[in-house]
C-alpha cells in the first residue's frame, strides 16, 4: 500500500520489479565482463559502471515504461535507480575482477 492517491495496488508490482531486476542484473554482469576485457583501472571502471547503470535505467524508462514509470512502479525513482544500486555494483565488481584477472 502506498500513498493516499493510490488506493489499491496489485500483485503486478512484484512482477514489474522482477523484470526490472532481471534487466539490471544481466546488464551489470556483462558490463563487468566488458570492463575487465578493456582492462579498465579503478576510476574508469567505476565510471563505466555508473554510466552503464544510468543509461540502462534511462533506456528502460524510455522504452519499456514508455516514459510513464509511475504507472508501473510505486515510487519509480527509488525503485528503478536506488534500490538495486549496491547489488548491481557488487555484481559488477565481481565480474570486473573476474575478467580482469583472466584477461590480464
Amino acid at each position: 500500500m502506498s500513498s493516499i492517491d493510490e488506493i489499491t495496488s496489485s500483485d503486478y508490482v512484484l512482477g514489474n520489479k522482477k523484470s526490472l531486476l532481471w534487466v539490471q542484473d544481466s546488464t551489470a554482469l556483462v558490463f563487468g565482463i566488458g570492463a575487465g576485457i578493456l582492462q579498465l583501472e579503478s576510476f574508469k571502471g567505476f565510471a563505466m559502471f555508473v554510466v552503464g547503470y544510468l543509461s540502462v535505467a534511462l533506456l528502460y524508462i524510455i522504452w519499456i515504461c514508455r516514459l510513464q514509470p509511475a504507472k508501473y512502479y510505486q515510487s519509480p525513482i527509488n525503485d528503478i535507480f536506488i534500490e538495486s544500486f549496491v547489488r548491481e555494483l557488487t555484481g559488477y565488481v565481481m565480474a570486473w575482477t573476474f575478467s580482469y584477472a583472466l584477461v590480464g
Partner: protein, 140 residues
C-alpha cells in the same frame, strides 16, 4: 521479437568472447616484451578489440530489451484475433490492472467465490425459474 533477442544474445556473446580472447592474447604478447622498453609503455589495447568489446556490450543490452513482449490477450466476443496491447508491463493500479479480467469476465478468486457453500441456492433457483419462464414466453 523473442527470436531476434536470442539471436542477438548469441551474437553479442560471440563478440564479447572473441574480443576477450583477443585481449588475452594481446596482453600475453605485451608481457613477453622487455619491461623497460619504450614500446611497452605506450601500447594500449588496439582499437578494433576495444570497439568489438563495446559493440558486444551494447548489442547485449539491446538484446535484453528486445526480449520484452507486448502484452496480448484473446477477446471473448468479436473477431477471434489476438489483440496486442501497446505496453510491455502490467499496470499496477487496481482499476487498470483488472481491466482485462473485467473485459473477459474472469474472477481471479473464482475458486473461492463459486464454492458451493458460498452460492445462494435459493436466489440461483429463482433466477433460473424466471429465465425459463421468459424463454418459454419467447418460444410461444
Amino acid at each position: 521479437m523473442a527470436l531476434l533477442s536470442t539471436i542477438l544474445i548469441l551474437f553479442s556473446s560471440a563478440l564479447i568472447l572473441h574480443s576477450g580472447f583477443s585481449s588475452h592474447e594481446f596482453h600475453q604478447l605485451l608481457k613477453s616484451l622487455p619491461q623497460d622498453s619504450h614500446s611497452y609503455l605506450g601500447h594500449q589495447l588496439p582499437k578494433d578489440i576495444q570497439y568489438e568489446a563495446i559493440a558486444g556490450i551494447i548489442t547485449f543490452t539491446i538484446a535484453v530489451f528486445f526480449s520484452f513482449k507486448k502484452l496480448t490477450y484473446y477477446p471473448l466476443q468479436g473477431p477471434q484475433k489476438l489483440i496486442t496491447l501497446n505496453h510491455y508491463l502490467h499496470e499496477i493500479r487496481m482499476n487498470k490492472a483488472t481491466n482485462v479480467d473485467n473485459l473477459i469476465g474472469n474472477d481471479p478468486y473464482g475458486e473461492i467465490n463459486h464454492t458451493p457453500n458460498f452460492i445462494d441456492i435459493h436466489a440461483k433457483r429463482e433466477e433460473t425459474k424466471r429465465w425459463l419462464e421468459q424463454n418459454d414466453k419467447k418460444e410461444i
